[in-house]
Symmetry: C2
Subunit: 335 residues, 2 copies
DNA sequence: CACGTCGATGTAAGCGTTTACATAGCGATT
DNA sequence: AATCGCTATGTAAACGCTTACATCGACGTG
């Protein structure tokens, strides 16, 4: 592979000049520049990133840490992040950490070793319930800017882009109540980091409407269709009654729809169902699922925009909020 | 940030010895090794990858080129690839190319610039119909080993891991025929690279059973639920009749199920439906979708295994075939 | 006892860039 | 004509590591 010396020799200029051409420095005459470019093209030269990295101590790469890129929502996020990063001239270094805290710590260390220019953390269990467990993120932020997608953590060099999950759930719950529902089930998963935010919204809506919060109607469960289906059927059989279900994830909602069929409940007549993320799944069910869309595209674009702003030394707010929107389909009936 | 000289100084050995410790060289006494490790730990030292890369001309990184990681099947593939690569000690450099040929060419050039140790190409439109358009892959293979997932191309340094798509479709089509279906619709998308392989299987099955192939029953369409739904309803309204649908992608099958409902056809009584990829979507529909599972997990693991074997100088077959399996659910009824 | 061997460690060159600083050439200013 | 300043270009050091080769001491062998 040709290196900068080959180009230098062949084009009769010094390596410094070649390097200047490479970096688009203005202090090179048009003539030399063209000559050098011609030689580069002729020899099929590509600069060596390692050498470049050594000098500049950057590789124009952003690390994406994602708990599980096979989750439809996260897959979308990774996709849009990658697209947007590239648009801004950055490459993506992907890391799927899974849900184990220790793994996440290990991966984070690893990714920092790679000398990425910044980090984007995305994914369900982004933040541990115990704040002490999040120290590793603060540690990372002391090296490079860290962008949290759908999670909030305070600290120098840590920025967040979040949806108004609390508000969205509060609003949809309120609408369910206004449409006459009184016993609203709330299902959430541990993997969904903002599950607690959403729960907060749920409780707020109940309170604002003078409905007492029934612990039996709040369920933490794994993010799995079949499991949810059986849980709900079981609850129903054992006598629990409910007339609406709000879920922190579409998959749970799919399970709820299946369960309704098992129980002989009509949707949305006997049971209204609301999902979250507005994923492809919402279009597959019958009836089609009403879901809260958190604009993963906007979310991703904003995360990248903010991060690159930080790179350029701009000051940005520590927290940026994106509004999400309810996409109404067939599993609900309210104004 | 501390560098190798700091460690050397602090531990009273030369940088060569430090480097040896770093690389696990056997020619370091246990005592020195421990001392050096202690100092590294104390100073929080992490080797600089660029410097390392400069010397070794490798960064233990594999480039993953994926047309669209928001596609559920590809998202899964990317996930498993990343997991397996890490297990083998490699990092992943992700690149979502989209479906434009020119983009793919650009990205490939870019990714090679990064000095990856190898490439894994995954994704629907992996291979262009026109063989000349695939030259850029051969070009890439002249630099580093290239692994094709679900696509075949001959050339030095190009390896493939594929499912027996042709056989799987042939087999399922035959079973549909045996169950009494005569007018079987075949739907495929341009994005699905193996759509043509699958089509071949479809035709083979018809031929083997003495059924004439009706061009009207073979449709190329975009990979979209709503679009498929409307197309089928339209065809039905305009008089086309069919009693089974085989699809090259689950999303098409979801559209078909929706269309059946529109047309008042019962599934699987009037219409049997088969999807492909056995994605999450298959579990969401009602009735649940029978789908061909191409073992993305095995496929990914095999791709990574083969590639790392190549890295180690082992000889591997240019083409490895994985068997796929039919997962029967509610949209079909045959033995 | 001289010598070869071997294992542990050190020295220094090299990897391919970037860039601060030096230099050369040339027109403008005095 | 000497000086200044500017632009285009060159020189060389630095980035942090790997590794071939050199060195050194200890030990076994004839």
């Amino acid at each position: 592979m040709p290196n900068i010396y080959d180009i230098s020799e062949r084009s009769g200029v010094s390596i410094a000049t070649v390097s200047r051409v490479l970096n688009g420095s203005p202090k090179v005459s048009e003539a030399t520049k063209n000559k050098v470019l011609a030689v580069m093209d002729e020899l099929g030269y590509t600069p060596n990133v390692f050498a470049r990295g050594l000098g500049l101590n950057t590789m124009n790469t952003v690390g994406i840490m994602c708990s599980d890129s096979s989750d439809p929502f996260l897959a979308n996020a990774v996709y849009y992040l990658e697209q947007n990063l590239r648009k801004h001239g950055y490459d993506s270094f992907l890391c799927c950490t899974g849900y184990e805290l220790q793994n996440k710590k290990n991966y984070l260390e690893l990714i920092l070793t790679k000398r990425v220019d910044g980090l984007i953390l995305v994914g369900s269990s982004l933040l541990e319930p115990n704040d002490e467990d999040n120290l590793y993120i603060k540690e990372a932020a002391s090296h490079v800017p860290v962008m949290l997608m759908n999670g909030v953590l305070k600290g120098a060099g840590i920025y967040s882009v979040v949806c108004d999950d609390c508000g969205a759930v509060s609003s949809v719950t309120e609408r369910l109540i206004k449409s006459g529902r009184k016993r609203i089930l709330y299902l959430y998963t541990a993997e969904s980091g903002s599950g607690l935010q959403k729960l907060k919204g749920y409780k707020e809506a109940l309170k604002a409407n003078g409905i007492k919060c029934d612990k039996d109607l709040i369920r933490l469960l794994p993010c799995d269709i079949e499991n949810t289906r059986h849980l709900l059927s079981g609850l129903y059989t054992s006598g629990l009654r409910f007339d609406a279900v709000v879920c922190s994830e579409d998959r749970l909602a799919v399970g709820a729809i299946k369960a309704a069929k098992d129980m002989g409940l009509s949707i949305p007549g006997d049971l209204q169902v609301v999902g979250y993320n507005n994923s492809l799944l919402a279009l597959c069910t019958d009836p089609e699922l009403t879901s809260i869309d958190n604009h993963v595209e906007t979310l991703s674009a904003t995360a990248v925009k903010c991060l690159t702003d930080v790179f350029q030394g701009k000051r940005i707010p520590a927290k940026t909020i994106i509004q999400n929107a309810l996409v109404q389909r067939e599993t609900t009936r309210f104004q």
